[in-house]
């Protein structure tokens, strides 16, 4: 049996080229998916799982494009020069690239955390997105960035640092135009503002799979309520739960086979008989 192929590609956007990896099925292509990464250390921690997911989907007959946003991973630019507004343009460029490889192939997006919030936004503004898969989406950008600031403080506490940050000081600094370091990533005022205003309230007309990945057997209340709200606005969204630690925060290998298998099956069911 032939195996899918993997090829490094460049994705043109504005005056630069994003680093991408294209997974091409060995069989007839049932659909194409662009992966939308999380950011900060979550991107690195989730890398292996996203690669495994891309391979699983390619084996099932889907063309997959993974890529790095500007200023992230192997793509050019400094992290603090960009933010969600630019990264949404990058997602659009990745979709355009995928269309070049199969103009008539149905398209979808798969995102994790901030990547999921941006995927949902992209599904509303980009034409022809038939489905989105949202792994543990960020539902409230302000809450997300506040939680990241808390993570910084918890880390400093565990390291028993005497000189510790406070959220008020960090935010006051940002409002004064200063950046601060978060796990090696400079947080500039514009990034703080853009992340804070990232709230996935609009969605495309396609189908949406929301996956709650946590210790819970049932979806968390905010996520379940959000899906009800989406469906109340005429969208077609379902929520699944996968009991698994937050692999996007963990160092080392995570066996996410259940998450990948359920995602692959859901997409296959949606697209195999379209």
């Amino acid at each position: 049996m032939l195996s899918p192929t993997e090829q490094a590609i460049d994705i043109p956007v504005d005056d630069c080229r994003l680093a991408g990896m294209l997974y091409e099925p060995a069989t007839a292509v049932l659909g194409g998916l662009v992966f939308c990464n999380p950011i900060f250390e979550e991107r690195k921690a989730a890398h292996r799982v996203l690669v495994e997911a891309a391979r699983s989907l390619a084996r099932a007959g889907f063309r997959v494009l993974r890529f790095d946003y500007r200023g992230c991973g192997d793509s050019p630019g400094a992290f603090d020069a960009y933010g969600p507004a630019t990264w949404l343009q990058d997602i659009a460029a990745a979709l355009a690239e995928l269309r070049k490889h199969g103009p008539d192939t149905p398209l979808g997006l798969l995102g994790l955390r901030v990547g999921a919030a941006m995927a949902l936004h992209a599904s509303a503004v980009e034409a022809g997105i038939e489905l989105t898969v949202l792994w543990e989406p960020v539902l409230d950008g302000q809450q997300y960035i506040e939680q990241e600031l808390r993570r910084k403080m918890v880390r400093e506490m565990v390291m028993r640092k005497g000189d510790r940050s406070s959220r008020d000081e960090l935010i006051a600094g940002l409002r004064g135009g200063a950046s601060f370091d978060y796990e090696g990533y400079p947080i500039a005022p514009h990034l703080y503002e853009e992340l804070g205003s990232l709230n996935p309230k609009t969605a495309g007309t396609g189908r949406h799979l929301v996956v709650n990945i946590s210790h819970r057997k049932e979806p968390s209340e905010p996520l379940a309520d959000w899906v009800v709200e989406l469906n109340g606005c005429g969208h077609d969204a379902v929520v699944h739960t996968v009991q698994h630690p937050p692999f996007w925060n963990l160092v080392g290998m995570s066996d996410c086979s259940e998450l990948i298998e359920r995602t692959t099956n859901w997409i296959t069911d949606r697209w195999k008989n379209r």
Binding site: R150, R164, P246
Partner: protein, 85 residues
């Protein structure tokens, strides 16, 4: 009968951190950081868990190892917060 705060904490910690032991096996006096491998990532998960389980807010000033070192210290912290400290 009302479940002890210590027992609620132990159950929550084992569940949220996917620990491979039962809540009863978690020693209330042993360091979560040194004995049970709780790191900064797990600790934030635990902070969120405490806020959800006990419906209390953990403020920036509360990020002190003395509050989070052991289950017993956590229980003391939760008791103070529930009492309106």
């Amino acid at each position: 009968m009302t479940e002890r705060i210590e027992d609620r904490l132990k159950r929550m910690i084992v569940e949220r951190l996917f620990m491979s032991l039962s809540p009863d096996e978690l020693d209330e006096e042993k360091s979560l950081l040194d004995e049970y491998g709780v790191d900064s990532v797990s600790l934030l998960e635990l902070v969120v868990g405490i806020e959800e389980e006990f419906r209390i807010a953990v403020g920036d000033d509360d990020f002190d190892v003395d509050n989070f070192e052991t289950v017993a210290k956590l229980a003391n912290f939760v008791r103070l917060r529930l009492a309106g400290d």
